[in-house]
Subunit: 358 residues, 2 copies
């Protein structure tokens, strides 16, 4: 047996200048910002026809993304979005130390099959539609620990693979109630870095990981109502942990509560005498035009918050139209098995503080 030749650096990084802080009950403030060096978004045809259509990096004309199944289509979408993020930032996959990824499908197969060719160590995540925040939160913590210099956080969703996974195959032509949301065909990839490069899109300065909140709702066609209590919980605890008022933020932006969930989260926080109505915005409401696109309660899916963050929210921070925002993607923790067994749809949400580069 040969002794392996040692080629790496023994100590690539010395991060003892950082002093990350636990804040209050469940928040973390980073001693040094984590930089969003770049990002990319790719969406499907319908999303391209929506109000934000001109802002996405790429609108695909082929919702199959060249693949032969819906699941493989989503994998291809995720893979392509990572590639685009690398190209836009002129860096190689070898510069990415770890990936943080997940999606809505059982056993996260969109990510597993989409990312395997990159040969990058992977942290697989599951937070339903809150996964973009989950990946950015854990990616940031890892960088803030001095345990990585650059990481890629990516997530995706696809209307057809999600309908098949959670509700009915499209071929059934099932009717959708007005409370139902429309799963976005989209992916967002984010390149996080431990150092400023002068051209960064935004800074991550704090995070508040969220709890599961289960109000016992059982309607898989009304995800907004199922997720709103978790969104309200994490927003409330974030504000409490940091002793901040809603107007500390230019915007408080949930992932995919849609019209039904938006009213619910405003009402729930109102009961605690916190009024976020002036700041609240929802990616699911922004991405489609309800009047003309027949998308009912709004857009949803991991790819909704992720693609809107990359295309629209980060642009507002870059253009200094906003100084800081609280980004709160929301997830509905159901499966077809738990749903068919009569269980509720618990919600979860994670909050990330994003600030314009100073």
């Amino acid at each position: 047996m040969l002794l392996i030749d040692f080629q790496g650096e023994d100590s690539v990084s010395q991060k003892n200048e950082r002093t990350n802080k636990m804040i209050g009950k469940q928040s973390i403030e980073f001693g040094k910002p984590v930089w969003i060096q770049g990002s990319a978004s790719i969406v499907g045809k319908k999303e391209g026809q929506g109000p934000l259509g001109g802002l996405f990096d790429k609108v695909s004309t082929d919702d199959m993304f060249g693949a032969s199944t819906w699941e493989e289509a989503e994998s291809a979408l995720q893979k392509e979005t990572v590639q685009l993020c690398l190209e836009k930032n002129n860096i190689s996959i070898d510069d990415i130390r770890y990936m943080f990824a997940g999606d809505l499908l059982g056993q996260s197969i969109a990510s597993s099959f989409g990312l395997s060719e990159y040969n990058t160590p992977l942290f697989g995540l599951y937070g339903a539609c809150s996964t973009s925040a989950l990946s950015i939160t854990l990616g940031s913590i890892t960088i803030a620990a001095g345990a990585a210099d650059k990481v890629m956080c990516v997530t995706s969703s696809h209307f057809a693979s999600a309908e098949k996974e959670f509700r009915y195959p499209l071929e059934y032509g099932s009717q959708r109630p007005l409370s139902a949301s429309w799963t976005v065909i989209g992916s967002g990839a984010f390149l996080l870095s431990d150092s400023k490069n002068g051209n960064d899109r935004a800074m991550i300065t704090a995070v508040t990981p969220g709890r599961i909140v289960d109000f016992g709702l059982k309607d898989s066609m009304n995800m907004g109502a199922c997720m709103a209590p978790a969104a309200a919980d994490v927003i409330y605890n974030h504000l409490k942990d940091f002793n901040r008022r809603p107007d500390y933020y230019d915007k408080i932006i949930t992932g995919d509560l849609g019209y039904v969930g938006q009213q619910a989260v405003i009402d729930l926080l109102g009961q605690k005498e916190i009024d976020i109505s002036a700041q609240h915005m929802d990616c699911g409401i922004e991405i489609f035009d309800q009047a003309t696109q027949d998308t009912h309660a709004g857009g949803s899916g991991c790819g909704c918050a992720a693609s809107v963050l990359s295309a629209y929210l980060l642009k507002q921070l870059e253009d200094k139209k906003w100084k800081r925002i609280l980004f709160v993607p929301t997830g509905a923790l159901l499966s077809k098995v738990s749903f068919n067994e009569g269980n509720s749809v618990p919600g979860i949400a994670h909050a990330v503080v994003l600030e314009a580069v100073r």
Copy 2:
């Protein structure tokens, strides 16, 4: 609107004494050890009859754990294991800042429904049977970042929910080939802490997060072969990153490669002139008696590596029978959808360095 009363500590933790290091290509060395303050394991009847039966904290006589479906049984098992871990360590759930959890089921419902009542912020993970290492890795990084003082890492698997999820309902009475493994009914929960309390079970000193490796194998009845390439890859890269030889460790312990996968991982590393045959051990081989328990290739599932780590491996470190081990749970990234669509079964594995308390 009232300004929220601020009750928390503004800065609970100051961790600037830590200097975590990126090592080589994909490893992390913690500047200060992360302490496994305690752990708990609960298993099913068959596991209790195996060679390690006397070591588990609790052997359930009811594989339904008081629930009415297999999925709810697994949730009850996971919940109970966390509770037992809290009780054994005489701490309250309020002392746990974050949970890191996942399981094998679609959308990780065993964890979502098992842990929701704890009201603790949750990082949902998916790494198939590698999830115990994934949870311990991310829990350790979060503590090493100074972003948490105490976290709970938990995972589970259940024979009946897993067979239903991945293969055939038990009622079909399908025959199982000799290469098939037997999913363990079991759960392991680990209490990680940023400080020594004098009674700790072990120290986590380094981690090597792994990559997806796909050799194109398509046999869901031979998970060992599907996962062995990923185990070999992460063990190789770990040894290379740290410039260590296999005999640096008393044991190199994979999660659930079983008999088929054990031979494969030894052969694959042998091709790179690394001989781990003297150190290799596999939780899936240890947990059942192949001769009398009809478990074919060995035990598998998230709960296999997790329960064996808690009951057996940590005990050897505690008793100073071993000085340090490399713990390498392995996951097979399949789903019934990807399998039925003719896709391969990619593998992933993550490595954690565990040392006896000095």
